[in-house]
């Protein structure tokens, strides 16, 4: 599966990409929401986006809203991957259109589990 990792931290992007590559996925990266939108416009085959919350220029919440408002990519499964751990934040992410929510820190087991839940959740909304 081709997965877009959106995070302003190079270390976080690399950490997640290493886990996903080991699981057989292909990863593409973006360091903020605006760059992610460009990627999604030019790379049709991206099947899932992992989205950090706090990023410069366009944050993760704004990115989720922008994708859901985009008629061509509105069905993209999106998983928030963030250190924001307040329940209010989780609720906001779902209101914006996120399919699942993973709190940092995590291991490859939790990442894999949440990816399955995000894909199932998005499939259930169609």
């Amino acid at each position: 599966m081709k997965i877009l990792i959106v995070d302003d931290s190079l270390a976080a992007r690399s950490f997640i990409a290493r886990m996903l590559t080991k699981q057989g996925h292909e990863c593409v990266m973006a360091s903020h929401g605006g760059e992610a939108l460009e990627r999604l416009t030019s790379e049709e085959v991206i099947e899932l986006a992992l989205v950090d919350w706090n990023m410069p220029f366009m944050n993760g919440l704004e990115l989720v809203k922008a994708v859901r408002a985009n008629s061509r990519r509105r069905d993209l499964p999106m998983l928030m991957v963030t250190s924001e751990c307040e329940l209010e934040r989780v609720a906001l992410a779902f209101e914006a259109g996120a399919d699942e929510y993973l709190m940092k820190p995590f291991t490859d087991v939790e990442l894999s589990s949440k990816i399955q839940l995000a894909l199932a959740s998005r499939a259930g909304t169609k």
Binding site: C85, E86, L87, V90, A91, F94, E100, Y101, L102, M103, P105, F106, T107, V109, E110, S113, K114, Q116, L117, S121
Partner: protein, 286 residues
């Protein structure tokens, strides 16, 4: 290479078999080392050899209990393996809930429920998908051999890693409260789960007859005679139209012929051979 002597490992195998009927196979020295080293340290002992010596002397109930608990604690997570809970939600519970409309009661048993994720998963499935049982007497009994696991079940507190594993965040939002660095399941769900200490290989308390029994990933630890005994006793505790869930790698075949595998949706359960045919999915109410 482990630090457990052959003699000590032999003693531990006998100790486990006698106390819990659990089979510790030769070659599992690493497992004993990995589980018992923290116990030895917690008791202020130098190594496992000292722990074994303490258990042998029979003077420390605490050492015996902690060692037994450490060796019998199993992996668990919310919605572990996913599909059995879909079968429960879409096939088993709709039929049973309809049949119990007069009694307005549900009795469910989760054996070897470890830190409680399985009984709480079932509680969430009931709350989410069966609003018609609000006001019924719903009792989910979670049993384990470990007092530490039972304490955790009663508290219903989980680390961030535990709630990240298998639990849809929408359910976190609905049924959990943040408690410092941990998450606690809300009282309304904790009240549905009754945690009880039970050694499956020994005497069981007197219980009601169960509508659903989860006996997953625990039989694999017992010898054939004990598996047969446990399955036979569990079967006698099942309602005629009840359902038994075993682990994916477990089967009653050759142990109890009165339990028949019933495929229902993505997974399967076991029903009494004399009971009704395979359950059909009913429309969900929520």
């Amino acid at each position: 290479m482990t630090s457990i002597s052959e003699q000590d490992f032999g003693f531990l195998r006998t100790f486990l078999r006698e106390q819990s009927s659990i089979q510790l196979e030769p070659g599992k020295e690493y497992l004993a080392e990995c589980r018992l080293t923290p116990v030895a340290r917690a008791l202020g002992l130098k190594d496992i050899a000292e722990l074994v010596a303490l258990i042998r002397r029979g003077t420390s109930v605490d050492a015996r209990r902690r060692s037994l608990e450490a060796m019998t604690t199993n992996e668990t997570s919310f919605f572990r393996d996913v599909h059995p809970f879909e079968t429960l939600r879409d096939h088993v519970l709709p039929e049973i809930v309809r049949a119990r409309a007069g009694e307005r009661a549900l009795n469910i048993w989760c054996a070897a429920s470890s830190s409680g994720q399985e009984p709480y998963t079932i509680a969430m499935v009931i709350r989410e998908h069966f609003p018609q049982v609000a006001g019924w007497r719903v009792r989910i009994i979670g049993t384990d051999i470990s007092t530490e696991m039972l304490r955790r079940t009663r508290e219903g507190r989980y680390s961030q890693l535990e709630i990240n594993r298998g639990l849809p965040a929408r359910l976190l939002l609905k049924y959990f409260e943040r408690q410092g660095l941990e998450w606690q399941i809300k009282k309304e769900l904790r009240d549905m789960v009754d945690a009880q200490e039970v050694n499956l290989a020994k005497r069981w308390p007197s219980w009601p007859i169960f509508d659903v029994i989860f006996l997953r990933n625990v039989l694999i630890y017992f010898d054939v005679a004990t598996k047969r005994e446990i399955l036979g006793r569990a079967r006698k505790l099942m309602r005629l139209d009840g359902a038994l869930f075993l682990g994916g790698a477990e089967t009653p075949m050759g142990l109890d012929d009165s339990l028949k595998r019933t495929q229902a949706g993505p997974s399967w359960c076991y029903r009494l051979a004399a009971a009704s045919p395979a359950p059909q999915p009913l429309p969900r109410t929520a």
